[in-house]
Symmetry: C2
């Protein structure tokens, strides 16, 4: 047997998991502070649910891992967390709305393997179903801002509204049937720059004049209010301008929110607010969060006459991990803050380790009965910052030897003093 991983999936060793768990628990706490509660759905769903009309679409279905159970029922690994969420909402009509849930879990796509593309990756979603109010959109943007504040990553969040973008394109004279194409080109403005956007428009025979206004406003360095006033002069009072004005009024105190009329967010299902976050100071150029309102998706999936207005967003765990590593490149290989080495008295070792552990200080312990020098090597190889040497004589005087592995400094202290130092 060859020892190999399947193509496109990864092991996460401790040096990766320690940071990843910290990130996940931080975001979990942020979700919970904002009144979102955890919901977990199974790793696999019935194939008919995942391939329903309005679900991921043909492209995603091609990338869905399929299999059968013993009863020959067709199943598939979930490709996102949104369709299972819609299925859950549809199966639980007793849910009191608005229902706010978060979900952090792995999803699967049997796609081509490129750099940075995996067949198994995490999604980290929060959604509100049952509020058609822009208040819910603002809550999501505010939560995204709070998340990055908590992570110590300065973020800029671009906001726009799909209704408004439709109105601007119509006003510019883009034919309705070309609107999505034009939108997707404009959406790349930040990524590929003005010159390439113009080139792509020309290639698609979309007259630059028709989107000139949007491009000018998006690239000028004007305040949100100035941009918004110019837009109102251009299209007048419309559903799009009203929604956007309401959103901006709820975010007036948030300096990091930037109105960007070119923002579209690829997905077809957005119906109103869209937003996307970036960390400008970082080398990570892809978006670190994104979301928007999708008022028709769930009802469409459920083939149901009931309305399910919804808004939600995702933190991008992989780009956020990259930005965090860039900020703090030192890797931790263990969470242990000290390594306990008992000298020929294993029970004393256990007793001392227990004291640290009961005080909430993670410590490791010699489990091989090795010599001090071998144990020091071991502690070094895991970069454990302190070593606690437990000798019979010292312990009788109520003390242990605490060695700082970086400086080499040694001191004779009580266990309580050592705990105080490591806490």
């Amino acid at each position: 047997m060859e020892l190999q991983l399947p193509k496109g999936v990864r092991d996460f060793p401790p040096e990766e998991m320690i940071l990843r768990n910290k990130l996940i628990s931080t975001l979990q706490q942020v979700f919970e502070r904002y009144g979102f509660n955890p919901l977990e759905t199974p790793t696999f769903e019935r194939l008919d649910v995942l391939s329903a009309k309005y679900a991921g679409g043909a492209e995603i279905l091609k990338e869905t891992f399929r299999f059968k159970d013993q009863g020959d029922r067709e199943l598939a690994l979930r490709y996102d967390l949104t369709v299972p969420f819609a299925r859950f909402v549809g199966m639980n009509p007793q849910l009191k709305q608005p229902f706010k849930r978060y979900a952090i879990g792995r999803v699967y796509r049997d796609g081509p393997i490129k750099l940075g593309r995996y067949r198994e990756f995490y999604q980290c979603d929060a959604d509100v179903v049952g509020s058609a109010s822009i208040l819910a959109d603002a809550e999501c943007v505010r939560m995204a801002l709070a998340g990055f504040k908590e992570l110590g990553l300065p973020v800029k969040i671009s906001v726009n509204n799909r209704k408004l973008l439709d109105e601007l394109l119509e006003k510019g004279g883009v034919p309705k049937e070309r609107a999505v194409e034009a939108m997707l080109v404009l959406d790349k403005l930040k990524k590929i720059g003005l010159a390439d956007v113009k080139k792509e428009l020309a290639e698609k025979a979309i007259p630059e004049a028709s989107v000139d206004f949007i491009i000018t406003i998006s690239t000028d360095n004007k305040s949100n209010d100035e941009k918004f006033e110019l837009i109102k002069e251009y299209v007048g009072e419309t559903p799009g301008t009203r929604e956007l004005a309401e959103l901006l009024s709820y975010l007036a105190d948030a300096a990091d929110v930037v109105f960007d009329p070119s923002l579209a967010r690829g997905l077809a299902y957005y119906t109103g607010t869209v937003f996307e976050g970036f960390v400008p100071e970082s080398k990570v150029t892809s978006s670190v969060c994104g979301g928007g309102r999708y008022d028709t998706l769930i009802a469409g999936l459920l083939d149901n006459k009931q309305a399910y207005p919804a808004v939600g967003f995702s933190f991008g765990l992989e780009p956020i991990m990259d930005a965090l590593k860039e900020k703090n490149p030192a890797e931790r290989r263990t969470l242990a803050k000290a390594y306990v080495i008992p000298i020929k008295a294993p029970n004393d070792g256990f007793a001392v380790a227990e004291q640290f552990r009961q005080a909430g200080v993670p410590v490791d312990l010699d489990l091989n009965g090795r010599s001090i020098s071998k144990n020091l090597d071991y502690a070094n190889s895991y970069s454990i910052p302190f070593v606690v040497i437990v000798g019979k004589k010292e312990l009788e005087a109520g003390k242990v030897k605490l060695k700082d592995m970086a400086s080499g400094e040694e001191s004779l202290v009580t266990v309580e003093e050592a705990i105080g130092k490591l806490k």
Copy 2:
């Protein structure tokens, strides 16, 4: 399309997830305090890895979900966390041993569906690879005890040694080829009782006399030391008695450890220490944790000449959940401690909610612009303990109205006072 879950899998709604997440994060902290670090492997592995010699065995392979990727490679959902751990260890020869990892994740078995048996369930494992010393066995038992202490569940942990059990069976005259059968019947002593064990022995034509000694010692109400002395008189000094004596010497301060010479733990791969925990005060009769030493499993899996002595154990998340629910049957439907209702001033609502959230108090907020009475109904339906009513007039005086939903009591307080009360 019919909205249905696949057979044998579950949704975990917030009322289930809130307790489940608390349990998982408690155990995670315990693992980390004991120097175990997180490792995550993919949801699926190559089929040849999962079906390798010494892996789960024929029974488990029949229950393995199989599928193929686009490149026609045979894959399978993991049926446990141990085989992927062994694969990781084999693929990473640079790992400094002992290597202590924990893993909490979902595993999959396409088996028959019975009450309490699922096709997707969690395993919660901690293992040490690279120590042949009984110190590592003791560390695992100590960590199990610490876990249940932290959860507030009084546990009894039965310990035994497979070498000793082999020796006792041999001494009793059980033929070597019948030893495993006899062991598996004895293992049920706690579950099915003495009478049924005798009946099963008779059915299998294993003379009761050959296991009489083991049964007597296991059912007599003697101390660990007394049992151990009787056993040494019976078999003398053996590898099994030496290992068990060493283990008990490291656990002398743990009153909840019970030596049980009949304990075998079904799995074939254990080679020394075995242990299993129960919560005697609970209606949950199945074991809540279990583990043991398996010195040959990893090397066998890897078809490798290097030795990989290992010991590990699992917390049984499902029975522990049941025991926790029995102890505290009240379900929480949300983590929100208060529900903020702004009166015609949404931005004041956001500002007040933000203060709670920044202080770490989870609060929810009216996102539909509803009337006070509708909002009170909503807060009630989620059993949110407090409501914070934000009125223009009160806010000008720096106050909000805090309503205790249980008592109906209302008070005019500053936001800081409200935070203090809810913290």
